[in-house]
Symmetry: C2
Subunit: 441 residues, 2 copies
Amino acid sequence: MRLSQFFLPTLKETPSEAQIASHRLMLRAGMVRQLTAGIYSWLPLGHRVLKKIEQIVREEQDKIGFNELLMPTIQPAELWQESGRYDDYGLEMLRITDRHDRKMLFGPTNEEAITDIFRNDVRSYKQLPQMLYHIQWKFRDEIRPRFGVMRGREFLMKDAYSFDIDYESARHTYNKIFLAYCRTFTRLGVKAIPMVADTGPIGGDLSHEFIILAETGESEVFCDQKWLEKDLSGQGVDLNDRTGLESWVQTTLKDYAATEDMHDPEQDAVKSLGNDLVTTRGIEVGHIFHFGAKYSEPMGATVLGPDGKDTPVQMGSYGIGVSRLVGALIEASHDENGIIWPDAVAPYKVGLINLRTGDDACDAACEDAYAKLTNAGIEVLYDDRDMRAGGKFADMDLIGLPWQIVIGPKGLKNGVVELKNRRSGEKTEVTFDAALNQLSA
Amino acid sequence: MRLSQFFLPTLKETPSEAQIASHRLMLRAGMVRQLTAGIYSWLPLGHRVLKKIEQIVREEQDKIGFNELLMPTIQPAELWQESGRYDDYGLEMLRITDRHDRKMLFGPTNEEAITDIFRNDVRSYKQLPQMLYHIQWKFRDEIRPRFGVMRGREFLMKDAYSFDIDYESARHTYNKIFLAYCRTFTRLGVKAIPMVADTGPIGGDLSHEFIILAETGESEVFCDQKWLEKDLSGQGVDLNDRTGLESWVQTTLKDYAATEDMHDPEQDAVKSLGNDLVTTRGIEVGHIFHFGAKYSEPMGATVLGPDGKDTPVQMGSYGIGVSRLVGALIEASHDENGIIWPDAVAPYKVGLINLRTGDDACDAACEDAYAKLTNAGIEVLYDDRDMRAGGKFADMDLIGLPWQIVIGPKGLKNGVVELKNRRSGEKTEVTFDAALNQLSA
């Protein structure tokens, strides 16, 4: 993509409303613009990152056998009256009345809607497990939206739902999701620590929040420092080996990690940690939860069991905050000059800077480089704008592409370009072909 | 994908609410389920088709230099009060009040929102043209939702917007979009005829509706029968040759085609057609429209022109009904047994039918075929369910994949499989390798 043809309105000044780094940087890098309180438009650069995160989340759901569907944003109130949540949900639910005075709402989550789909079309335990997910915009009418996309009102979430015949099967499904989440966050280039979460009135041990450690996180978290070095890539784990998977999950979870709500300093496990207890703040980017028959019972989502009796199915739901992750990744990876994208979600892999647009030799070398990078299947953003080099360097650091190739008159005379690694800041002078080789690897 | 692990609730009976073929078939093929009046969930099979259409639409927008972004579904009422449309829009607009009693709405379209983005970040004619689009869910509170996704309330639309310095440039942008639409519908495997549309109070000749001919269409249309054979693929047209592009558009449009609203039987062009005038019905799947300064003037979207003066920009908007297209493609391509997907949007290219699941030889041959098709990069849906062959044949015809490979005990003895073309109905007995070769071509 040529920057002269790309809508990238970067800002030199930081808008006054932005309190945290990710919000500041997303505005300055031209990734988002607020349309109204807590509601954002995703400009082309931000949209590309959002789509890359979404795609990684999708692939890891698909790999464990979940089927993607898409439920609508608007839901009828009746469904929520059936589950009993219509009155419970409070002011965060955006309630709507249509032209025929029917009560509707903008879905803050989809347990009721998916249970309705399930109960209408699934009849027998032989059709279980059913594992479904969608990636859809949700709305929660936060009283005080803030921190940009981290606590917005309209947000993109992946929410998955599972239906099993009994607790043992549901537990296996839960373990699969646990594995998928570890793999997802690892691929996104960030450490998200699974922490025991409150299971509320249902109880049990099957609920975890996945937390990215960051000073600007909204809640305090506590964990064994072993988590900081732990491998969560989940490689080599066999999905279909129930016992092996359970044992991998339990081994992974053996070290202490808890959110503010669940932390108990009097626990032996905490006391024995001593100086190994890390106390910091965190951002919740995922939450997985087994809730048994909480919805299936009131909503009549039953199947004919092997014993010939109608049985309410065992359900769980599993969320990842896709749009929040854009902000969370920036909180976890930036410096004073701007964003530093993990490779997997970078909007482009390489920024190509023409130091002197208008100079024939520079233009020709850059065009050639642009064509070769593109042909090699490398995503490249070519800064072909007619402006001074300082502004180009600043913009390129700000938007945080992993690599920069700088082409200018001086280097061209010596047959070299400058290759810069955004994260380390390391710059090397190499031939363009050497740079291309390195980036193609 | 194995059908035993895919959520595909097909129906034998036609639900009574479905009046037209596409609605019936989408319900029967397990593509969608209604959540409430005019609001649908897209089940996995339907979702795959929706995504394929979306992707083709996206690629053709990208090719003509439009930038993708994503605006939110919920918009503040203030913007629509600025443009004057808040009161004009009537009951089709879903109006919402948030917890702080602020007036909002679920966007039925995005002219105001995009104009707001533009005016905040674009200052100079040197930054023009700006060409932006998004693919987002919209809501129109139809008084009588019907025909399934063809006239639903929540629907997916691609809407593009352009900003130019003057009419001549805006006309060139309009021509680019015209070309992109011809290419898009051609790739989707359907003929959509551009018909002169009403430009309302603004006037001018720059508005066309793209119409798929179908008996179940909502409005009557009239066209020269030359359109039925016309090549609209737009191949070889050079985007950057203003004169050449204009001339291609004019040549393409020279034959008569008009919707009910614009048709005039007294016109010479119509009278001279005689028996060459086709009178039928049509489904609107796209609409392109130049509207000049209609929004830029009241909303203050101006740029500094070459003369140093503030000038309101010339705008256009260009829509494609992505979710409606799923229904429209089915209206244009089905038979008494089910859907017949055009190749480009088929949810899978091949359906693999195991005639006798449980039979060792059949299972082994099917597993082998499934692996080989998958490895060849061919999208295949493998019916491995344990049920009788008749149901499998019926389901496979119903969901309309372009090809079927049937593997059964009798064929296996002779070393052959049955390869069936869904559109022609033609069946041939060939070796599996021959079938694989043909499908890989």
